[in-house]
């Protein structure tokens, strides 16, 4: 097998394979038995290594030559002992999913490994973690950033954007605990319903919407619903403070949060988008959600807040597109003060026109 062919399989398992390479890989695996064998072995290697991580020190990667896996078949008593141990482990595995306690005393289901993707980051100073674009392996645990912007996608339908210093803990694909931070949350569709942001004082449960939160240690949470419905419960999820919409605010008596207009302080997912380099991806896949990335403007970027950008607009401005207020969002389907959802399914016709005009 050629090394370039091996590289395709390597990239596939590292989940860093491009769309073009996927086609080549499909063709290779369809036609070559040798490639399929290599693929299957690679899968086994990955799985064995991943399992060794979970089993902690199952393999000895050190310099010792002593084998930990004697090839002799285990004796009868060994088999019985193994069966008993396995029975206990299985019972635990199937009947009682393991729970872990986080630093903040929250119980997390260890089996509920989150499917979380890093969409982009900008000016990020993450003191304890490195973030790689496209990274999908986010463990349950605490993350800290001291500046910049961080855009994560939970599952396929919840986008969470942090701005500035933040301390948060990923609890599952549908739940985060935030100790500190400016957050914008967007739930795209029903798959993301009940996405919950826990804070030391409350639980914000998203029912298909966009909302902002400002969490500060030892201070009242600041909260704003931009669109849709958000239910707020107390920290133990026992008492509900009601369901909030942009126009309906239930009784705020004893509420651990205040309502506040936060949107102007938060990044505004469209405001800093630089999606010029994503046009090809978007035109290929009309269903692509929020592929936009953050960044400061440079010659390769399109910064929606830049006046220059508006000067370069194609002559045929799509309907619903406003150019009179470059500091705010250019897509204003209604007279609301702020762009709510500038997602590619809305942007697409415009992107296509840009692509056509060679911008």
């Amino acid at each position: 097998m050629k090394s370039s062919e091996k590289k395709l399989i390597e990239d596939y398992f590292a989940q860093s394979i491009s769309e073009e390479d996927i086609s080549s890989l499909n063709e290779l695996l369809l036609n070559s038995e040798e490639a399929r064998s290599f693929y299957l072995t690679y899968a086994s290697v990955m799985e064995n290594l991943d399992e060794s991580r979970q089993a902690h020190n199952l393999y000895n990667f050190g310099p010792s030559k002593a084998t930990r896996f004697p090839r002799k078949k285990a004796g009868k008593w060994m088999a019985i002992a193994a069966s008993i141990i396995f029975a206990v482990v299985s019972l635990n595995h199937f009947a009682f999913q393991k729970t872990l306690k986080t630093d903040h005393g929250i119980e997390v289901n260890s089996k509920n490994l989150p499917k979380i993707k890093l969409i982009d980051f900008f000016g990020l100073d993450a003191s304890h973690h490195s973030f790689t674009p496209g990274q999908t392996q986010f463990e349950v645990g605490e993350y800290k950033t001291s500046s910049g912007k961080l855009h994560l996608r939970f599952g396929e339908s919840v986008d969470v954007i942090f701005t500035g210093a933040s301390i948060f803990e990923i609890l599952s694909e549908k739940e985060i605990f935030v100790q500190k931070g400016n957050i914008r949350t967007i739930v795209h569709d029903a798959r993301g319903y009940e996405f919950t942001i826990r804070t030391p004082s409350a639980n914000y449960i998203d029912w298909g919407t966009e909302f902002c939160l400002n969490i500060r240690p030892n201070a009242t949470d600041q909260f704003e619903v931009d669109e849709g419905l958000v239910e707020v419960k107390d920290s133990k999820k026992v008492n509900s403070f009601g369901k909030f919409t942009p126009n309906y605010k239930p009784s705020m008596e004893n509420a651990p949060f205040t309502l506040f207009d936060l949107s102007s302080d938060l990044p505004g997912e469209a405001g800093y988008a630089r999606w010029n380099d994503q046009i090809t991806a978007k035109t290929k896949n009309p269903d692509l959600l929020g592929f936009y990335t953050f960044g400061t403007p440079n010659k390769n970027d399109v910064n929606l807040s830049s006046k220059n950008f508006f000067y370069n607009l194609p002559k045929s401005t799509p309907a619903g597109f406003e150019t009179d207020n470059p500091k705010k969002c250019m897509f204003k389907p209604s007279k609301k003060r702020y762009c709510k959802r500038c997602y590619p399914h809305k942007l697409l016709p415009f992107l296509r026109s840009l692509a056509r005009e060679g911008l």
Binding site: Y12, F38, L40, T41, M46, L49, F61, K65, S83
Partner: protein
């Protein structure tokens, strides 16, 4: 009655323990995202347990029978999954799963070959593998310590996995001769 159930438990557990790693590796080949492997294996185990009574000659057939269940579950997963989670097309996946079933007996012994191949790595490579899979040190910290970039270490890890795969294939070929 109770002793019958105990006997079933013991037998099932013995067979399951023996075959689980190879079936899990097979499942890994059928899924793009490794987070889905544990869930799917759990389904496979439950189905296998429920249908264990129907299996004839488990001594001989248990592993391959579990693979049939796994294969069915993989295809069912693919039908429900988002396109992004199943980049390989169905036709290719069928071929991969066919070949995986055919090569099942040889793959059962893979962990021994892997162990041997890890020992053949250079000390630096073993150390990186240890950091990635064994130690509490993160790759980022290790990168700082060794004055390298995180990205370069991830790339090196990929190359190590490829080298291990080639080594295992060679080893298994030699053994089968």
């Amino acid at each position: 009655m109770k002793s019958d159930r105990n006997l079933k438990n013991t037998k099932f557990l013995a067979y399951y323990t023996e075959h689980e790693p190879a079936v899990r590796a097979y499942v890994r080949g059928g899924l793009y995202n490794h987070h889905d492997v544990a869930d799917l294996m759990q389904k496979v185990a439950i189905i296998a347990w429920n249908k264990f009574d129907q299996l004839k000659d488990p001594e001989e057939n248990f592993g391959k029978w579990m693979m049939v269940i796994a294969r069915y579950e993989i295809m069912s997963f693919r039908r429900k999954a988002e396109k992004i989670d199943v980049p390989l097309c169905d036709k290719v996946m069928q071929k991969i799963l066919d070949q995986g079933a055919k090569e099942y007996d040889t793959r059962k012994e893979l962990c021994y070959a892997l162990q041997a191949c890890i020992q053949k790595l250079k000390a630096g490579e073993r150390e990186l593998l240890d950091v990635a899979y064994n130690s509490s040190t993160s790759i980022k910290d290790f990168a700082k310590k060794t004055n390298k970039t995180t990205q370069s270490l991830y790339q090196k890890l990929n190359r190590i996995r490829t080298a291990l795969t080639s080594c295992i294939q060679l080893q298994m070929k030699t053994e089968s001769l």
